[in-house]
Symmetry: C2
Subunit: 598 residues, 2 copies
């Protein structure tokens, strides 16, 4: 029997089983399967078709001898045709141990072509031949690939586990509004013109920060939300204009309780989705992290720490070191012999690229034969170089790499060099997970261009209790060193979450706004509703937000978040599939009270 007319399909069921379900114990059953033609092959008088759905692949078999016309139709099916087939489950003579359904096949008796398919622009297989642009344009076909589908299913599971866990801890998911008010602070808002209030605009939230704090004032006590946030900024390779956060807030807590709660959440997520037990998370101060790893999000899958060599290398007459604010180095284990002068020249060029920005690279190779080769051999003798090695906790066979310059930049450059060397040594291929908390971030960041302070986290972050009295200091250096009660969760070098204990006192909030260069009027105009709320019995509170897209990627050892997003945008913020953004018509602009500027 062969049907083509879609309307006839109403008379039958599309499936009795999924394509990943049937086993040897089902032999003899009459079944109906639906799905996509993965591929077909003809073998003498037989035709085999791999039928695919979300759950797996099952082999269909057609026999020229039994039903020639049906077999011919089977031979005419192209890849990605949608079909419904019914027949009997039989044991395969030629079993496929790589497939859960590999012991059986379906002897097809009825076949319906539900929908034919043009030849897809790229192959629908784990590894595809489609380029990025093509895959994005035909994203609906790209998602049909098992590798993308699995990532979206993982994301769904991770979100559900997050919700179940937080619910079990008495957190309430509250939806905060998407149409809110634009604030000049922070990265740029997407705005939404209001038709009913012409000349006025909503903004899309960069985060629900003020709303979750208001929910604490409301006595909700434990809030969370898995929520889309929006940021209209120039997109780096792996950022998206819309992204998802696990946003959380708790009242009547101190830092310990917040860290404890979300460390437990993180452990639960790894356990429930990956069956991985994470140990207790180590903690680093922000200053420690910078001094030791040149980064506030160090990758601890390998150590290779930065060593401050100031005490060791200075005052020997080498002007590059003597004139530098800071000299530091990393000891790359076991590569002294293999790094040629040419390799080291290339590495020097690497650190000199504008993205890194070092002036030069000093090296010392402590070869296994005992000889030492150094780019500064003219200025330092072997004993001195061995002293460096000792200071850097290295040993024979190691390569010592040294940068000098102002402290902040040198540490950043050494952090980048450390990561590069870790990558070359294969340390980043590790499938381990190394979470850590980074604590005690600075409260403020000085911006040279605008000659003012910005909030390192956001303006609602509480200063460390012991630093509050310093907030009125006229000394910029004192202010630069103010500590915030802020923390980040880092896994494998990626910032997964960040949060803080918040200010809950109107006066303290006002002092903080003043530090950030707000006049009292500006503070009132923009955040008056929050400061007003603090006057009506605001409880102490704090929270955290996880970057959900990034968490999905890191948990799967993927560098890019894109394939964990069903319909991502490209670097120009464009959806290539639906072709958005796009012009709108004049009538609509007029309704909104807007004109396009030429």
């Amino acid at each position: 029997m062969f049907n083509f007319e879609p309307s006839k399909m109403n008379l039958m069921s599309y499936r009795s089983h999924h394509c990943g379900e049937l086993r040897i114990s089902d032999v003899g059953q009459k079944v109906v399967l639906s799905g996509w033609v993965q591929k077909g092959r003809d073998l003498g008088g037989m035709t085999f078709i791999d039928l695919r759905d979300r759950y797996g692949i099952t082999q269909l078999v057609f026999n020229m001898d039994t039903d020639e016309s049906l077999c011919k139709i089977a031979r005419s099916l192209g890849r990605e045709f949608v079909i419904t087939a019914s027949g009997e489950v039989t044991e395969r003579s030629n079993k496929n141990p790589d497939r859960p359904t590999g012991e059986i096949e379906i002897n097809v008796e009825d076949l319906t072509v539900v929908n034919p398919s043009k030849t897809p622009p790229f192959t629908i297989e784990e590894e595809t031949d489609g380029g990025e642009e093509l895959r994005m344009k035909y994203r609906y076909l790209d998602i049909r690939r098992d590798t993308i589908q699995k990532k979206l299913i993982f994301r769904s599971k991770l979100a559900l586990e997050t919700r179940k866990y937080l619910d079990s801890k008495n957190f309430i998911e509250v939806e905060t509004p998407f149409l809110i008010k634009s604030t000049p602070e922070g990265a740029r808002d997407f705005v939404v013109p209001s038709r009913m209030n012409k000349g006025e605009f909503y903004a899309l939230p960069q985060s629900p920060q003020t709303f979750k704090q208001l929910l604490m004032v409301s006595g909700m006590e434990r809030y969370f939300q898995i929520v889309k946030c929006f940021r209209d900024e120039d997109l780096r390779a792996d950022r998206q204009p819309e992204f998802t956060q696990i946003d959380c807030e708790m009242a009547f807590v101190d830092r310990e309780e917040v860290l404890d709660t979300f460390e437990s959440l993180t452990k639960h997520l790894f356990r429930s989705t990956l069956n991985i037990e994470l140990g207790d998370f180590p903690r680093l101060d922000y200053n420690q992290a910078i001094e030791k790893y040149g980064s506030d999000k160090p990758d601890l899958r390998f150590d290779m720490p930065i060593h401050n060599l100031n005490q060791t290398v200075k005052d020997s007459g080498f002007v590059v070191f003597d004139s530098a604010e800071y000299v530091g180095g990393i000891c790359v284990p076991g590569v002294a012999d293999e790094y040629s002068n040419k390799d080291l020249k290339k590495l020097t060029e690497w650190v000199q690229r504008p993205q890194i920005g070092a002036k030069g690279l000093v090296y010392a190779k402590f070869q296994t034969d005992g000889s030492i080769k150094s780019s500064v051999g003219k200025f330092f003798n072997d004993d001195q170089l061995l002293e460096w090695l000792d200071r850097a906790e290295g040993s024979k066979g190691d390569l010592l790499l040294i940068l000098a310059g102002d402290k902040d930049n040198s540490l950043k450059q050494l952090g980048a060099l450390r990561l590069e060397m870790g990558k070359r040594l294969g340390y980043l291929d590790s499938t381990e997970f190394k979470p850590l908390w980074v604590l005690d971030f600075p409260l403020l960041e000085w911006d040279e261009d605008t000659q003012r302070f910005y909030a390192m986290h956001h303006p609602f972050t509480a200063p460390a209790a012991e630093d509050i009295y310093k907030m009125d200091s006229p000394d910029r250096e004192v202010l630069k060193n103010l500590k915030a009660n802020a923390y980040d969760l880092v896994i494998n070098g990626a910032e997964i979450g960040g949060g803080s204990i918040r200010i809950h006192d109107r006066k303290l909030q006002a002092r903080n706004f003043k530090l950030l260069g707000f006049t009292a009027e500006e503070a009132e105009e923009q955040f008056g509703f929050l400061m007003g709320a603090f006057e009506y019995g605001a409880p102490p509170h704090g929270g955290i937000a996880f970057g959900f897209d990034r968490l999905c990627a890191v948990m799967n050892h993927q560098n890019s978040i894109r394939d964990f997003i069903a319909f991502p945008k490209n670097n120009m913020g464009r959806d290539l599939m639906i072709n958005a953004p796009a012009p709108i018509d004049k009538e609509q602009l007029k309704d909104l009270g807007l004109d396009l500027k030429d």
Copy 2:
């Protein structure tokens, strides 16, 4: 001991227990509680304070004899002050059986005022004295009221139960994009100007309709999402510019499987959150619903159906009936004696209001003493009137109310009258739940103003299989009667969900766009990506979307959705708390390539 300095709080924990937790079995324990001062009262040498948090209320007690200074501080606390108190759990002599913690109190030894409070602009109690405007402006205080907090907690629970259930049925939650493309079809889009693509706009989704269909083409098979949607239209009293849907789609299904799946979901939600077992949902055709209840979302908490009286009342020389396309009536049970002429005059005025729009009302009172009084007694004798009563399945004591006119409007008016009479009789106070499916909606709606058809559901709804061949008819009446494979879920007169089997065939979709007045170019321009997707093996699919805000309200027998939304907007689309929308500065407009029109 008394502390005031917030920074000292870091040294102690805010609570060992919640305010709803302690029982007689805890007597003797030392505990720490934090929360808000609900109220205080002084009784001789004692001061009692009701301390409130999200979990309950616990009584604190202070004794002038034991610690005079502490007791004086307790007496100075105002309502909504945030405090932390520690002390011993003791048995109350004067127990309060209405409160779970009513058998104990805390003998306070230490007290910290964490944050004082100004006097709130309205009382923080179950019933408040605050008006709508004031409550919205201070929404963070409004939410502190138990009645609002419970509604938000119910919403959170309902969302989680939805997710758990759909996950158990193999549905995957996929986040679809918020920054999409504007389409001229349907209600109005909110648009978002793109800074990176000047002169171009994104739109916020009115629903993820096309994306969920693309996910079916992608082979996700079972998709859901609890998702914000946006509609920029003039707001009726109980609409919001942003609202939440439970959005679902399934592949390889027919209508039965969709109805079955989401009837089961609905039953699960009632069972898991309200402990209510719903029986199987009755079904009505759209036409039946209109003819019997004058509405496509009939409230079945009471019957009082509409009866077509055409056969019964016509051709008796009464011109109002004889000239009418339709005469119909409802029989209001047991009120004949109590409705005076004055009452009936008022009821006539009620149906004549522009919102209802009837020309007049004909009545017949079948009084319990056997006498009959009718507004058309001059034209019809008692036998005739008794025949009407018989036709309307009424009996002695009933009041028969009759409207005449064109059929569509008369049925609508009778539907409104039926609801009004049900309300007067107290039928709408019933705490019962009466769900039903309304099936077989028309595919198209004719619009007299624009002289064109619009899609009754949306342009992607499949016509009933048996009506497909009629789609090319030139006869407008034939087209008006085309049935769609569409369905609504109605509970207690509210539309809770609506969906359809979709078109999955490019040619059929093109024919439907043509019916809706799209040129081939317009269809391609706006929905080319979807029609293109249909050419690559699109499976048959269908789905449903539930209005989540409305579902929350209906499940709690509330008429308004507002208190189930944490931060709702008013009828002008304005958030009174944060004062949005608001003007943005010139610099930002310039960046977006926009000018305000004067």
